[in-house]
Chain length 276, copies 2
Amino acid sequence: MKLGFIGFGEVAQTLSNGLIDHGLKVLTCTDGRSHKSAESAKSTGVYLCSTYSELAKSCDILLSAVIPAEAVNVAKNVGKNFNGIYVDLNNVSPATINEASTYIAEGYTVDAAIMGSIKNGLKTPIIASGPRAEIFAELKNYGMNIEVIGSQLGQASGLKMLRSAYTKGVSALLFESFYAAFQMGLDEILWRYLSQTEGSNFKDSSVSRLKSSTLHSHRRAQEMEEVSKFLSKYEDPLVTRATSEFFHHLHDKLGYISEKPTDYRDVFRKFKKNSF
Amino acid sequence: MKLGFIGFGEVAQTLSNGLIDHGLKVLTCTDGRSHKSAESAKSTGVYLCSTYSELAKSCDILLSAVIPAEAVNVAKNVGKNFNGIYVDLNNVSPATINEASTYIAEGYTVDAAIMGSIKNGLKTPIIASGPRAEIFAELKNYGMNIEVIGSQLGQASGLKMLRSAYTKGVSALLFESFYAAFQMGLDEILWRYLSQTEGSNFKDSSVSRLKSSTLHSHRRAQEMEEVSKFLSKYEDPLVTRATSEFFHHLHDKLGYISEKPTDYRDVFRKFKKNSF
């Protein structure tokens, strides 16, 4: 089996490293990609095709791992030359997966989503759905951690969005309730009382969420807009829409932050200062 | 020490039972209260005063445990005849506590909030704040479970509201994300993936939250409106306001429900049916 990566950022590099170690032939094409991606592909030891058309013709499985905005375009570019399994591993919505799939032979797109940090290497959990998801899942033989969750496109990317709606909503709620608690000098007591119902690890995991919220506020605001659109198919997503507004508001007040804050209370102080 | 209850519902009855067992003299007045309250007071063995004025004059501590809408009025009615510690144990906002306190001698109001189910009897955690909260906390000598969290009115009732903002917001988020997951046939997989980050008890506690949301949707919608007003002092409560709207919406679709549903998916089915 031959696997080709479209895009060679951190995801592709990490998975390639592990897959090559397991004896799989991995290819990519760095035409038009960044210098960094090209260097990284060379050093990882993947086979470099000179064109995307050559890459598409040489592989049984193509794995798209690009930035969300490019997801549809890359499917369009390789689709006509490709007869294998096209795996969209991008962080995009079910609607985008469906759009990308229109450029791929009917039934040959797999919806895949990364469900943890890619820093876990080949063991990073990946969920997949689509009529041929089981064929993609054969990469488990080369050490990947893939779970097929259904036979329809949109299930894997949808599940990832639903998980995100919940966890990012919780982060927004944490900020809203603990910001007021901090202003009242009651944050330590609130941690303690909430830990009684939310579990002993509540404070540690929540503080980590508060910190990462400030680091990624702009991206999350946009992500939650996408999730809202997706949820609108099923219901009026009142809380998720508010979560998106919250992250926009947070970004307005704090701007881009390059380093994780060491103390969540510093974030509250800065938020307060910029609120007046 | 003599303790008087204003109002004799489940809270007063439960605490009286325990306090009398510990040898405290407990009084109340059932003038104008429901027949049920009067019967309950008699059977508990509390001393019955014929008027509120007699009750106020006979007690060192008065404990108000009435419905939220009556909280200010009862303070107004007893305040002029009372020289002891007035404990407002009602489920009301800091603003209401402050309003009630204007009818009580300056500095003699204690803000108190029940932080668990009263079914735990005398052991039910109660938090208290205010300049004389420590005097109220001496009831720990009679078996009560009181923690003084500060010396200002509004801290105890405020902390309870903050906890509520978080837990009820989580309930709304659970409904929003799992309703869509259920429609997609992915609810079981979403439980599993969220349990990886939210803890092993996540599904059980969340299912219980989903069920109790449907049972108390109307009350929660109103409670979250109060919490929104309270939070507005500190920030624009985007998520809490959405939580209130969510519970209004839930109540519109499901109406009053008298029994806890046995399966959360039945709730989703009914919600869907009534959405068209």
